[in-house]
């Protein structure tokens, strides 16, 4: 068991959720290991997930939502740790584009995460200690393989749709490549078929910030009763800038000062933007495990779908009948439209029916999580068109 530690320096939320999530859990024993790309089997392991709506008799209305790097399975319900609304409640719910009165929506915590699916904060049954860095490196394909096992567990043979943004979009592309016969429609949003050098570079800065925190203790902070909260907060602050845009930051904060009329001539958070970033960093460490952050950023870095198919992305989608709708945002500089176009190009070359829309927004990469009416209309319209073809009644 995990050692009891001083609760003032530890997050009661994340570690408890990692082992005892407030979500349904699918447990896979030694007879059903997860085959990892790292070349080892992970067993036993578990997947924490949420579902919304009702699976129809034909089992044809299931929608899988894939979450991004710091998301989790709580897509449309109040978050058990933060008490905040689900991260995509504007998209998923009754009457929303992903209508839970019509579709059976599943969202599971990814492998390597910290909200109940096996990850570095989970207990390694062999040692009785948290896995920490003993967990094999996880890939996006591993995450998707685990999700496919969850669907088997739920008795769902084929998905009506799979969708997600950013790292979630990577999973969507991997789904379309690995299990084309199990996916009727796919929406990769604000994503790419590989992580760019610039994105790997940003992630490396974040990981170094975590590892430079003396409380990280080589990853053994859970056992040693410390918490690399400063390192993780800095990592989050840096990453958060990449999720926004110059225009969005300027509109939101400009050069305005925080609760003061003049600069203090100190390194206090004089500017509103500094105060905002500090808040983002601090609130993030309340709900996220530092080692999970290392594993999941690594999974994104390793993602290069074309590389698995002889360097030709089109080969990843050969013969696929899945309908795909690729969506990007004009001000997203983390996954710019050119990355989406490369995916569209490959899908076209493979003869896959693909739609592509670029949404005008100045909110940067985060736009896919925000209220963008045009984006919502496209997701709704695409799903309705696909539902007609699938024979899903209203």
């Amino acid at each position: 068991m995990v050692q009891v530690t001083d609760s003032t320096t530890r997050e009661p939320g994340t570690t408890r959720e990692a082992e005892q999530p407030r979500s349904p859990v699918a447990r896979f024993g030694p007879d059903r290991p997860l085959r990892l790309d790292a070349g080892v089997d992970l067993a036993p392991f578990q997947i924490a997930y949420q579902t919304y709506g009702t699976l129809n008799a034909a089992r044809s209305n299931a929608v899988l939502v894939c979450h991004a790097l710091t998301g989790d399975q709580h897509v449309a319900n109040v978050h058990p740790v933060t008490g905040k609304p689900g991260w995509w409640e504007t998209m998923v719910g009754p009457g929303r584009p992903i209508d839970t009165e019509r579709y059976f929506v599943i969202c599971s915590n990814v492998v390597g995460g910290c909200m109940g699916t096996t990850g570095p904060a989970s207990i390694n049954p062999q040692t009785g200690q948290p896995w920490a860095l003993g967990l094999p490196v996880i890939t996006v394909r591993d995450m998707v393989r685990a999700q496919a096992m969850l669907l088997d567990h739920l008795g769902i043979d084929s998905l009506f749709a799979v969708l997600g943004g950013s790292m979630g979009g990577m999973q969507v592309l991997q789904w379309a490549a690995s299990y084309p016969h199990r996916v009727f429609a796919a929406l990769p949003i604000a994503t790419g078929a590989r992580h760019s050098a610039q994105n790997i570079a940003f992630h490396e800065v974040g990981r170094q910030a975590v590892m430079a925190d003396p409380e990280w203790r080589g990853g053994n902070y859970l056992v040693e009763g410390t918490n690399p909260r400063r390192g993780l907060a800095v990592a989050r602050m840096g990453a958060h800038i990449t999720y926004l845009s110059d225009a969005a930051l300027h509109r939101k904060f400009g050069r305005r000062l925080q609760d003061r009329d003049n600069p203090t001539f100190s390194f206090d958070a004089d500017f509103q933007v500094e105060s905002y970033l500090r808040h983002q960093g601090i609130s993030f460490v309340e709900r996220f495990d530092a080692n999970s952050y290392l594993y999941l950023t690594r999974a994104m870095d390793y993602f290069d779908l074309a590389a698995d198919y002889g360097g030709v992305l089109a080969h990843a989608f050969k013969g696929s009948k899945t309908r795909v709708c690729v969506i990007s945002f004009t001000s997203d500089w983390l996954f710019p439209t050119s990355e989406s176009r490369a995916v569209v190009h490959a899908l076209n070359a493979a003869g896959v029916p693909v739609s592509f829309a670029e949404i005008e927004s100045d909110k940067g990469h985060d736009a896919f999580l925000l209220d963008e009416p045009e984006f919502f209309a496209i997701v709704r319209g695409f799903l309705e068109g696909a539902a007609r073809l699938r024979g899903l009644e209203r």
């Binding site: 003869g351 029916p353 829309a357 709704r380 695409f382």
Partner: protein, 220 residues
């Protein structure tokens, strides 16, 4: 010489108009074989693609420049991507489609000849419809008005028009000759959207045709 009467237009198909669709679109649709793979370049709000899907069981794709157009198409369940006819056709593999359609868009491309050649590279056949700048009303407007023509179909002023490469029916035939493109069929529509007599001579079409629809293929 053009095989102008190679196959009679199935006028029944043209006249039967379930959704009140535009005659030029129905004409284009009548040229497309059932169940064909079609790329509509400059598909606008998807009216033609929807017609082809619903009436001719076509596996249709579209490219559209305007964001609004793309979004309307996707919301209709059509497979449409945002893109530019002048640059993005190069991304498609050879012979990917049975038909590549350019409906009322040729005159807005920067390089009409390149676009046409790309269309016939990625499709076995191409269907092109365009407004005929040789129509008598346009000729009269220039002759007597002394200004760039403006009609109901072409309402733009010269300084804000997206149409930068107007041509007449004769001009288009000349381009096909130069580019080594075979004209399989052609139809001209009068100002009321009615097809002109197939036996009429070219000068007649060029004078009284307000729009033209051509079915093209590669000369091999």
């Amino acid at each position: 010489m053009l095989a102008q009467t190679k196959r009679d237009l199935t006028m029944a198909e043209v006249v039967r108009d379930p959704a009140g669709a535009r005659v030029d679109l129905l004409l284009v649709a009548a040229m497309v074989e059932r169940g064909a793979r079609v790329l509509d370049v400059g598909c606008g709000d998807g009216e033609l693609l929807k017609l082809l899907r619903d009436e001719r069981d076509v596996d249709g794709r579209g490219i559209e420049l305007s964001r609004e157009g793309v979004n309307e198409c996707v919301a209709k369940g059509l497979a449409v991507i945002q893109g530019d006819a002048d640059t993005d056709l190069a991304d498609y593999p050879d012979d990917a489609f049975d038909y590549v359609i350019l409906s009322q868009t040729l005159q807005a491309t920067r390089q009409p000849r390149v676009v046409l050649e790309q269309m016939l590279r990625i499709g076995r056949r191409a269907i092109v419809s365009f407004p005929n700048f040789g129509h008598w009303r346009i000729r009269l407007q220039i002759l007597f008005g002394g200004r760039m023509p403006s009609t109901d179909n072409l309402p733009h002023t010269w300084y804000d028009t997206p149409n930068i490469h107007f041509c007449t029916i004769k001009d288009f035939r000349d381009l096909c000759d130069v580019a080594g493109i075979r004209l399989e069929r052609a139809v001209a529509l009068d100002a009321w959207g009615k097809p002109l007599r197939l036996t009429a001579p070219w000068w007649f079409w060029n004078l009284f045709g307000e729009q033209a629809v051509f079915l093209l293929s590669r000369k091999s």
